[in-house]
Every structure is written in C-alpha cells, then in structure tokens.
C-alpha cells in the first residue's frame, strides 16, 4: 500500500505540493503579520466582508449558468460570460434614458424592475439562441467540439455587441434611492451593497426552489442523469435543455444588473473577468451542484475581498488589492489540481457511480 503510493509520486507532484505548501506558508505568515500590525480596524474587516458578500452574490448568480448547463450537458459554456454581458450592456441604455427623463427618480421601483426585466430578457434570449444555434447541432460530437464552439461564440457575441453599442464604456446611472449608505454601529454599508446581497439571495433561493421542487426542475435533474430514460418518461429533453439555458440566462441577466450597481460602467468586454471568476466559483463548489455554486461563489467573493489585505499586506506588498484577480485564479489552478470535484462535488461523483 505504502509502496505503491510511493511509486506513484512523480517529480511534478512534489513540485506542485511544494508550491502549495509555499503558498500556504505565505498566507499564514502574511495573515499573522497583518493582524499583528493592527493596521486595519475591525470595521475595515467588516466592510471588506460586506463587499465580499455582495461580490459573492453576483458570482453565485453567474455561476448558476455554468453549473446548470454543465449538469445537464456536461459541457462548460464558455460563452456564458457574454450571456452575462449582453443583458446589462443593453439595459444600460434604458436605465440612462429613464434617469435622464426623471422617471427613475419618480418611480424608482418600477424603473429598476423595467431595467432588470430588460436585462434578464436579453440575457435569456441570447442563452437560448446560443444553445439552439451553436450547441444543439453538436450535441453528439466529441466533447472538444462544443468547447471550441463556445469560445468562438464568445468572441462572436463580444464583437456583435461591440458593433451594436460601440466599444466605449457606458456609465451606468445608479438610481437616487440606491445612492448613499447607512451606518450601523460605525460600519458604513452602501445601499447598493444591500440591494445586491438581498437581490442575489432572493434570486438564488428562487432558482434553488425551481430546481428542487418544481416538476420542471425535477425533470431537469432527471435529464441531467439520463437523457434516454428521461425521454422514456415523456420528458421533452430538448425543451428541458432550452429551459436550463433560459434559467442560466435569467440569473446571468439579473447578475449583470447587480454587478452594474457595484461597478457602474459597462462595455462589451465586461463579461470576461466576472465570467471566469464565476466559473472558478462553480468549480470550487463542485460544478453541476447548485448549492455548491453558491458556496463556492461566496467563498471566492470573500477571499477576493478580504484576502489581498489579509494575506499580503503584512508582507509589505504595496497595493495588495490589485492582486485580487491573481488570488482568485491561483485558487482555480489549485482546486483543479488538488480537488477537481470541488467542495460539494464528491457527493455527486459518488452517487453517479
């Protein structure tokens, strides 16, 4: 037992483990140094936590698209970042028009719902068309083929939207009611952060309820396990796959509006980084697993927000927050190496066997 284990260790394993241990050491030493320096107050940490939760909520909604589609087709929809971009990039025009005309200030709730609805409708339509046109004809092709198609579709969508709306950044007018902040016990929380956290939680719960408790949701899970057996139950597999893409699109469209509340500029390339981060979150939680995507996204949001200051500041890194993306993608690489099934992925793999 021990011998076979020893024989299986290669030089690469040793190097990978060594890097892992080194990173772990940096994190621990950095954290201790940061905390001992006492440079940041408790409020700063809380502030970063709130930021992390808001960010995590947005990632969670985007991650749903990756995880639902993976669950049902075993494919990574790399064009999902563009599904995410298409909604808010379209809705920004409505949002700004409503702001300019003063409607947004007079009827903020209706105005915001209209903007949200438009974003959701666009993202959903793009997601459904993407599946229908680009992926469905390739359903029985080798797995690499739809993956390449997805990357192609991703560029196609980026440049279509660039062509439609231009390559510049569009400032997103935040409704007056959401400007400003509240202060609880010295902790300042922005209204937009509250809206994002509540919005994301509400959306996540609704999605979970749909997948878990509705007839369509159960059919989605059945199709994800065995398409042929599902068809023998009378389930229209193509329709369920379309609906899955629609759900992913809906949550991406909603995520887009929430994201724009946190970072109020949109452009045709805005999907790339959040899309990749949400993918990281989905893998971290265990891709294909809905609660896993939520958990992974929250963890990633928190690490990204708190991590740079906590891990790196004590080591004397000058502007640690600029390294947040590096931290996020280091996580992706290391989960893929050490735990490709993600946090909650194991259970799925087991019951599939």
């Amino acid at each position: 037992m021990l011998r076979t284990w020893r024989q299986r260790i290669t030089l690469t394993d040793i190097v990978v483990w060594a890097i892992g241990v080194a990173i772990g050491a940096v994190i621990i030493i950095g954290t201790i140094a940061t905390l001992r320096s006492g440079k940041y107050s408790a409020n700063t940490w809380l502030d970063l936590t709130v930021k992390g939760l808001a960010l995590g909520g947005v990632y969670a909604l985007i991650a749903m698209g990756y995880t639902l589609v993976y669950g049902i087709l075993r494919m990574i929809n790399f064009a999902h970042s563009e599904v995410f971009m298409s909604g808010p990039f379209t809705a920004v025009f409505l949002a700004n028009a409503l702001s300019r005309s003063g409607f947004m200030d007079r009827q903020p709730l209706i105005g915001m719902l209209l903007v949200l609805a438009l974003s959701i409708a666009v993202s959903m339509t793009i997601a459904v068309l993407l599946e229908r046109i680009a992926y469905r004809p390739l359903r029985h092709a080798p797995r690499l083929v739809p993956l390449i198609t997805a990357i192609g579709a991703s560029f196609f969508l980026q440049y279509v939207f660039r062509g439609l709306y231009g390559s510049g950044f569009q400032a997103y007018a935040i409704p007056k009611v959401l400007q400003g902040s509240i202060t609880i016990g010295g902790l300042r929380i922005f209204n937009t952060q509250i809206a994002v956290i509540l919005g994301a939680l509400g959306m996540m719960f609704a999605l979970y309820a749909i997948v878990q408790w509705t007839k369509t949701g159960k059919a989605m899970r059945a199709v994800s396990e065995d398409k042929e057996a599902a068809a023998l139950m009378g389930i229209d597999v193509d329709r369920i796959i379309s609906l899955t893409f629609a759900l992913g699109g809906i949550s991406a469209g909603a995520a887009g509006i929430l994201y724009a509340l946190l970072f109020p500029v949109v452009n045709f390339i805005m999907g790339f980084i959040p899309g990749l981060k949400a993918f990281t979150a989905a893998v971290l939680g265990g891709i294909g697993n809905v609660p896993g995507a939520f958990l992974g996204a929250m963890i990633l949001g928190l690490i990204e927000s708190i991590g740079p200051n906590l891990f790196l500041d004590g080591l004397g890194v000058p502007t640690p927050s600029q390294l947040k993306d590096a931290i996020a993608f280091t996580i992706l690489v290391f989960i893929l190496i050490f735990r490709p099934t993600g946090i909650l992925g194991e259970r799925m793999a087991q019951s599939k066997a």
Binding site: E228, A229, A231, M233, G234, I235, K352
Partner: protein
C-alpha cells in the same frame, strides 16, 4: 386490429444490421413475450418501438397509427411506457421523485397520487423508502422502482426489458405476479425475458428472436412444448 403492430422492421447500429425484418403484434389485453439469446435483438426491438431508434425500413403502429413521425417523448404520451434494460432509474432523485417522473405525462395531480398509492401497494418496500435517494436502493428495490415508475403513467402498452435480471427467485415471483396483476387491471404487456420458463408461464403468446429475425411464433402453451425452444431456451435436453 392489433393494439401494437411491428411490421418488417430493420434497425441498424452504424452498419451492424441488428433487426432484419422483425414483425410481431400484440393485441389489447395480452401478455406477449419475446425470448431469445444474448444479442438476438430483443432490446433493439423495444428501443425501436419507443422511438429511441428509428427503423430504416418497416413500420411500428399503435392502434393503427404509424409512430414514425413521433419523438420518443411523444410516443410516451400515446400510452407506451417502458421498463428499460438495466433499470435506468434516476439515481440522484428520491424514490418518490422517480415515481413522479414516471407520471410526467399526467396533468392531474390527484391521479398522480392515486397511481403512487397503487405502486406503493404493489411494492410496500418503496413506500418505506420513498424519500431515500434511489441510487442507494438495493438491486431488487431498484427493479421494483423501475417497474413502478413505468406504471405511474397508466400506460396502454407496457414494454418490459428483462425485469427479472439479477433478482433473487422470491423477487422474480413478485415481479411476475405483479405483471399478471397489472395485466388483469387492463395493461397490455410486451415482455422481453431471458427467463423463458417464467415468461412463458404468464404469457398468452410468444415470439422467438434469433440474430435479428423472428424464427418461431406461437401460443405460450405450444412454445413450452416446442422441442427447439425447450433445447435452446428452457435448458431441457
């Protein structure tokens, strides 16, 4: 007119010619069995009836209507249910959710509950396990679930692919009793079996399939007496 009629079908896997002109018919209220050795094409016949495979030639008709233009899920809505080979239950869904999927074509919720009660009465074990994840059921329990699931839709025709496979003799008895019982309640059954003796003991008629062709067709009584059948499928010398 037969309820289910298979006329001269030819089915292929790539260039493997698996069915070479199979014809059979099942009348309303009958139990018909299709027996044959490994690789004879029994499962392929059932898969062609359900529309999962489309025949290159020939026709499948239900109550006289050609099923060719319909997709598998649409054929289910016409009243054809199947207990597939190897059970194919949804391992990550609960027992109750599996049964609900079996009733996917029903729109009436109280009908669904009524059918679920009927399945639970047939298989009390499933009732005990209803919230358990189906993948953790024993093999026999999974077979009960696959059978129960197919009954949930109130099928007019039930296709069963080796329901006795891998089951202990007591369970085989139970499954075959159940088949007879649901047949008495009005479901027409096409039963594929390796266990020819059991199948012929409950069937009205039978067909023997050999390398993609029907070689014998007769009443169950006569098939049991048939020397070729006795030698090849009943293990008698």
């Amino acid at each position: 007119m037969a309820l289910l009629e298979v006329e001269n079908i030819h089915s292929y896997y790539g260039n493997i010619h698996a069915l070479k002109g199979v014809s059979l018919s099942v009348d309303k209220g009958e139990i018909v069995t299709l027996i044959g050795g490994n690789g004879a094409g029994k499962s392929t016949t059932l898969r062609t009836i359900t529309g999962i495979m489309k025949p290159h030639e020939g026709h499948v008709r239900l109550e006289g209507n050609d099923l060719a233009p319909f997709k598998p899920h649409e054929i289910v809505y016409k009243g054809v249910a199947m207990v597939p080979e190897g059970r194919r239950i949804f391992a990550r869904l609960s027992v109750a959710e599996n049964l609900e999927m079996g009733a996917y074509t029903l729109t009436n919720k109280s009908k669904l509950n009524q059918n679920m009660e009927r399945v639970y009465k047939l298989f009390p074990r499933l009732k005990e396990r209803r919230s358990q994840v189906a993948g953790t059921l024993s093999g026999g329990e999974q077979q009960m679930l696959a059978t129960g699931r197919a009954l949930m839709a109130d099928p007019t025709v039930l296709l069963m692919d080796e329901p006795s496979m891998g089951l202990a003799p007591v369970l085989v008895e139970l499954i075959f009793d159940t088949i007879q019982q649901i047949n008495k309640e009005g479901t027409t059954i096409l039963l594929v079996e390796q266990n020819a003796l059991m199948a012929l003991s409950i069937a009205h008629r039978g067909y023997v399939l050999q390398t993609g062709e029907i070689v014998i067709s007769d009443t169950a009584e006569n098939l049991k007496q048939n020397v070729t059948v006795q030698k090849a499928y009943l293990g008698m010398e």
